[in-house]
Symmetry: C2
Subunit: 333 residues, 2 copies
């Protein structure tokens, strides 16, 4: 080898072994390709730039970079009804042959018939009764497996896709963008915690221990020489409205600096995050795109958005227009 060739070979080895691509000027990749340029996209970029700029008065250490996300309507579709309710109705139908007594109850009869309106007629109490019948009596592990199996086989009727593909691509970009900037991301959902854990890792890159949700009481016991945990047909924590700050304080142990929601059920969480000192970000996803997704707010029974919308400007929360701010809704759009 000539001295020059040797030199080149040595340099080549060095570059190969040491991650040479970082030497070359890389065009900065857009972290939010599905966000149209405008005030909301700029709010996201500015917020992250501010809290990560070392030495600035708005700098936040990585350990305190906590961001919380509602799930239904914020990360995935919640219309015409919550996906978990469809799961509950399917479970009721599956279990019905073992429960002839259900035929005596109009609520269960409606559920078995797939009559959404009838199943919802009992209000929250009725839904909790169906949820308890459909979802309790098993271990958290078994229930999570059951939910994962259902999600792997069930399909939405409008798009004819698995529900786990009806997640908002622009929000997946926000999750990844925040994590790339040292944030820890949490889901704070009114849905059942094990139901959301069944897909959060695979779909959102969020591990089970960063999912907070509503819970049934868990009873420890013993069977066949092993510890058992049984989900009782009784909600012991409802992670919605004022429950969201409670769940966050309990589970995360520090006040988030960023919160994302889409309904009045997120009003307390948005306030809790944005009322803390220093730079904060509150963001509301507004469903105003009937063509590509759904359009609903004040009159909707699912994901009602009214008070949070009225107060957004005064509280400095950014209202994202799905129609204007997002170039696409789903990954496959």
């Amino acid at each position: 080898m000539t001295p020059l060739a040797t030199r080149r070979a040595v340099l080549g080895l060095l570059l190969a072994g040491l991650g040479a691509p970082s030497l070359r000027a890389q065009p900065a990749r857009d972290p939010l390709p599905s966000w149209r340029d405008g005030p909301r996209r700029r709010a996201l970029l500015d917020f992250v730039a501010a809290v990560t700029r070392e030495g600035s008065s708005e700098f936040v250490a990585p350990a305190q970079r906590i961001a919380v996300f509602d799930n239904d309507g914020t990360l995935w579709v919640e219309q015409p009804v919550y996906t978990q309710l469809l799961f509950i109705l399917d479970r009721i139908r599956t279990l019905a042959p073992q429960h002839p007594e259900w035929q005596q109850d109009p609520l269960f009869r409606a559920a078995i018939a797939g009559d959404l309106r009838g199943a919802a007629a009992g209000g929250v109490d009725g839904l909790l009764k169906l949820a308890a019948a459909a979802q309790a009596g098993n271990s958290p592990e078994a229930f999570q497996r059951m939910a994962a199996e259902w999600l792997a086989s069930a399909s939405d009727t409008r798009w004819r896709r698995p529900y786990t593909q009806l997640v908002y691509q622009p929000m997946l970009e926000v999750l990844a963008f925040l994590r790339a900037n040292g944030f820890t991301t949490f889901i704070v959902s009114g849905g059942g915690v094990e139901f959301v854990r069944a897909f959060a890792q695979e779909v959102y890159g969020i591990p089970p221990h960063q999912v907070i949700g509503s819970t049934f009481a868990l009873t420890p016991g013993e069977q066949d020489g092993r510890i058992t945990l049984t989900r009782e047909p009784r909600a012991d924590f409802v992670d919605d409205g004022p429950g969201k700050p409670v769940g966050i304080a309990r589970h995360v142990g520090q006040r988030p600096i960023a919160a994302f929601g889409n309904s009045d059920g997120d009003w307390h969480m948005l306030r809790y995050a944005t009322e803390g000192p220093g730079r904060r970000l509150g963001m509301i996803i507004r469903h105003d795109d009937a063509e590509r997704e759904y359009a609903y707010d004040r009159e909707s029974h699912v994901g009602r958005l009214s008070r949070a919308l009225d107060e957004a400007a005064g509280r400095g929360w950014h209202v994202v227009s799905m129609r204007e701010d997002w170039t696409r809704i789903f990954e496959r759009d």
Copy 2:
């Protein structure tokens, strides 16, 4: 510059910028320098080697590498009484002038006088009564700050050091060793969750959201136009004994593959972790070193170890002898 000097300068820049030390052969650093060679040290090394060896039948993906640690007596000193009890008694003394009525109650009089025996005479109910009076009525954030301030100023009477220096150096090495091998480490403590969170990040490298503990009920409210959370003088979750698997299922959302404890209060947690399928590790820290720390087991009121010790061999749990297995107890030994 001569061509040679230029070449050296270029290489120097490359090496400086690209983390050159990784080029040199590093002698493998002992991950457990405070552990004497023997069955326990080997059990730790073998377990980690087995679950991290790709392609082996015992391989566990990083997302499932969950390890849980009791705190009192497993990670730091718990004798002569739990550190949090000393904090409670100090708080009672501080608050006493505002509560003249406490002088009418023998339990509070004992606490104010610093009479540990008298303060403990009311059993668990008495302790919860003292804890509620000392620790409730504030927000989780305020209480955690209070605990951090106390820990920064208080000193143990035997070693005359802050309690946060009375953590076991060999266990800090286990925490770091597991994390270096892709594990996520959690504390599962009978102590109050905010009390442990006040020091877990700094002392153990464990963030607040990976600390599970006992909790007081939290009430959401509003004051001066801001959301408030108030810790009520009522325990709503006791993270001890059968509560530990419940806390883990609730918070972690998956069964740990390794558990470390030191008392019968960890028996359920050790079983929950080691009864799962595949390779598992259960480890009990036995306090048998009166000279360097304390010696206690079946007869102790704090950290009683009896049933878990009797069943250790049958369940495949490793019993660590502090005297024989650890070359030092604290970092400064």
